[in-house]
Symmetry: C3
Subunit: 393 residues, 3 copies
């Protein structure tokens, strides 16, 4: 219990303004306006990066080996709220071979979506690809199996993954790096119940890349089993797997740091309905371009994201099969000191044919927002602004 | 993540005895005793001041400016319980102009009720005015809108206020000081729903005063919107606002420090019942006198509080319109060291016509206690005793 | 807020494999297998000892007196989960007379079961006596009175006890030591309701012993009131008391440290059913033998536990009156450093006549496991394996 524990954290609080516009896509009647808007002004936490506090430390074991731990908690600065699950809880053993890390941690795919994004996958400017991935994970993880909050990740193996074993390559590979991860879904095999154990909650993935002083390029891949017909979370779907592949890169020219991402998330479902068998597949193809320009203590940031959804689910007409979301974000940070910065960001989202997949593609400029839920209205466009301060300790 | 974070806390635990006596105010029958008592002996936490732990720090930004943060958690030493919401979570920017503070923090009115009280608004000796204010806030904040625990304060904008922007004047005003605060109620405007956004949860208030070596005098004012007819928390009341005004003062004569408070809390409601419109107003007028006598490492403390409730709600007979509560508290603290103290307090409360407003005026000597809930019984008197130890780190 | 606070913790994470076999003890039909197994592979936390983090400190008051505090939180490293109740929250006053400690803390009986066990009452190798005691406490503490999680301990006054006053003798008694404890059940006396206050949740107990360099021998005794007919948790049982007596010893021969325990837990219930009065008594008699062999940085560990259940509950035939559980555990720890160790443990449990008391005697190799719940199946045998790392800070 001596020394070697660091207390750390980030407190980030701001004022945000959101406007979510939905269009009437059903029959227009006199009593029903062609569009409605939801507008909110709020104090918010975690716009630059999520607020947190925690303890971490490492112990030198000699011979180039070390042990380490990391306990990191969530925190809402605006209302003091804190969830029942920590952000990250890990124990690591590191050496010349690299690092093995056990516990609850970020997925490689979320890490890729975050470090590539000029807006760090947070706040109103967050990477559109990351937001679609998060909504897809949440929407497919039906309640009841713990995929949303706790035992199998939060949310749903896209952001955090529980019960995970991760491996990180050492820093000595001439710029090449890798990160492999898999979890234990912990479902029980019951010899008296066929098909057990369920694979629900199973995750595996990884990220490999190359980085030198200016260039960083990596590819990530992950597979998460969101549903499975086996107990205890039996549903009339034999299997729903979300697989995500992305290619991310940043290039630092000094006066500007460019960022780019290409991503495909595929949602494969096999149904076993009474009297019929079918399957469907949906793709979410995304691209993101970003730039960060340092000017003294300031950083000007911009990004453009595009995600197109297309499904081959049976029984849909062609005009029910796709949706497109586009997002433009502009912002800046200004460092008052090494540990304190101010930020300002504005973002505009436009959604075409949002009614085809409002649950996933109705991306608002805030993680918890929602467009009009009235029947016949579809998400159409959204703006978000935020102004705040973040302090690191 | 270097330096500059302080781990701090207060652990306060004691043994308490409570006795709450209710009188039969209905028909007296042989089977029904004229009075009943609820008695409890308990281990309690937070009698001197609420138990807590947290992290805080400041960073010098140069030129007289600084950034700071404060994360403070609740804790029950007796049973290890800890709520889902932190006590205080704030980020501050300070300079020659004063301090701007964002996040969840104490209201100026609660601060005034607390620092004036010889018993620091805690334990069985707590300021009667503060206890009535807390019960009024809780009782009017109907469930469903988050006013009680989390998103809009706890409880109900009297103690903590969420999503708050506060301003504190600098120390350079020759003894004058001020504290202004307002919050974001964060309710959503829906262009398709009239009267939105609801004002429920809205808070604004402030405190201005003057302090020199011996005298401290201040006036506080606050308005909190407890109910509003607009969705999403629509109720058949168009508006319920609690406004609180108090004048507080302490005067330190050296051998004794005197304290005094005058307070009025007004609960204004406008009803919009079908076929009729009405409004009612209720006042809670309070006064408190206190004294603290230092004798070596000991502090002898006493206070007398008085609160009178009066309403003009339609349909009530004159004898249904008022209630009076009086409270006498005596106690002492003894410092074993700078950071460890023992405390002992006894308190007696007497309530006249408690049946007219038992929810607010039935003030027990503990924050969560309740008098007999049997029909026809009214809160009458209560005693509370506590003995304990508090350690600051 | 200066100095004198230590941040401490233990992060323990491993991979575990469980297999729980149940036998058909009812009618054997073709459609029903004679036995079923539940098998699980999981990432687990707290196998060597429970994972935790916290703050603690002491303040020298002069003259041999000191004040101290301890705040210790639970943590699951595997999934980041953390309960609403802290592990230990205490304030202490210590001096030449010993130590008085107030708050939530471990019971003397749990402490005895833990320090005697080579496997520290944790993980798959945990003391069989301790596991039966924990299950007995949980099973008898019916929901509704807070005995399971919070206000009166967790679980149910065997592990943690809330609202407890403990006394520890000083270190100056020539090797003799003692630990006495009692709690406040905090139930309310209502003068209008006969038999109140309920005694539910009441705990008292203690442990006295003698230790020199090689030998440590102690006897522990505890009584916990699990049920009481009085409100507010009235049940058709006038009284259920669990009394536990154990004799524990360790003897360190240098090349091996031997451990032994004899234990009896008695569950006495008095029923007051309409038209009849009866009472029943059940005994859980246990023995444990263990050994720890240090070899360099390694510790080889083994233990054998035996618990026999016997009841005189009316209406049971002789073959429904007893159950026996036996447990063999083998394991080792290997210290990579003073603060980091690896562990590996395997355990086998065999249960005879488990159907007679599956709730308490169906002991799995993990605290939360369960054998088949299907009608006609009884717990029969279980194996558990675990491999992990623990880091102390």
């Amino acid at each position: 219990a001596q020394s070697s524990v660091t207390v750390f954290g980030i407190v980030d609080v701001g004022i945000s303004r959101y406007n979510l516009k939905s269009d009437n896509v059903g029959a227009v009647t006199p009593a029903r306006p062609p569009s409605t808007s939801l507008k909110q002004t709020a104090m918010t936490s975690g716009n630059w990066v999520p607020s947190r506090w925690g303890f971490r430390g490492t112990e030198d074991l000699g011979g180039g080996y070390s042990a380490g731990f990391w306990i990191e908690q969530s925190l809402n600065v605006d209302d003091g709220g804190q969830p029942l699950y920590a952000r990250r809880t890990t124990v690591s053993l590191a050496g010349p071979f690299g690092e093995f890390r056990l516990g609850r941690d970020l997925s490689p795919t979320f890490w890729a979506d975050t470090v590539t994004d000029p807006f760090l996958n947070s706040g109103v400017g967050a990477n559109l690809i990351g937001m679609v991935n998060a909504r897809l994970a949440i929407f497919t993880a039906l309640p009841g199996g713990g995929l949303l909050a706790g035992p199998n990740g939060g949310p749903a193996n896209y952001i955090f993954v529980n019960n995970m074993v991760s491996y990180f390559t050492p820093n000595s590979l001439g710029g090449f790096y890798g990160h492999l991860a898999m979890n234990f879904p912990e479902n029980v095999k019951n010899t008296a119940v066929p098909d057990t154990p369920s694979k629900r909650g199973q995750f595996y993935g990884g990220r490999v890349g190359y980085a030198n002083k200016a260039l960083d390029v990596a590819v990530s891949y992950a597979v998460s089993t969101a549903l499975d017909a086996a107990p205890p979370y039996a549903v009339p779907i034999t299997d729903t797997k979300i697989s995500t592949t992305n290619l991310t890169t940043t290039y630092d020219l000094g006066f500007v740091k460019l960022a780019g991402e290409l991503s495909r998330a595929t949602n494969d479902s096999r149904f076993a309905l009474p009297g019929a068998a079918a399957q469907s597949s949906a793709d979410y193809d995304g691209a993101m371009l970003g730039a960060t320009v340092p000017i003294g203590a300031a950083r000007l940031k911009g990004s453009y994201g595009y995600v197109k959804y297309r499904t081959d689910a049976p029984g849909l007409s062609p005009n029910q099969q796709d949706t497109v979301a586009k997002k433009l974000s502009l912002g800046m940070t200004y460092h008052l000191s090494k540990r304190t910065l101010l930020y300002a960001t504005g973002s505009y989202i436009r959604i075409d044919e949002g009614q085809n997949n409002a649950n996933v593609m109705g991306v608002p400029p805030q993680p918890t927002g929602a467009f009009s839920a009235a029947t016949g209205y579809a998400p159409r466009s959204a703006t978000g602004y935020e102004l705040g301060v973040a302090h690191t300790f």
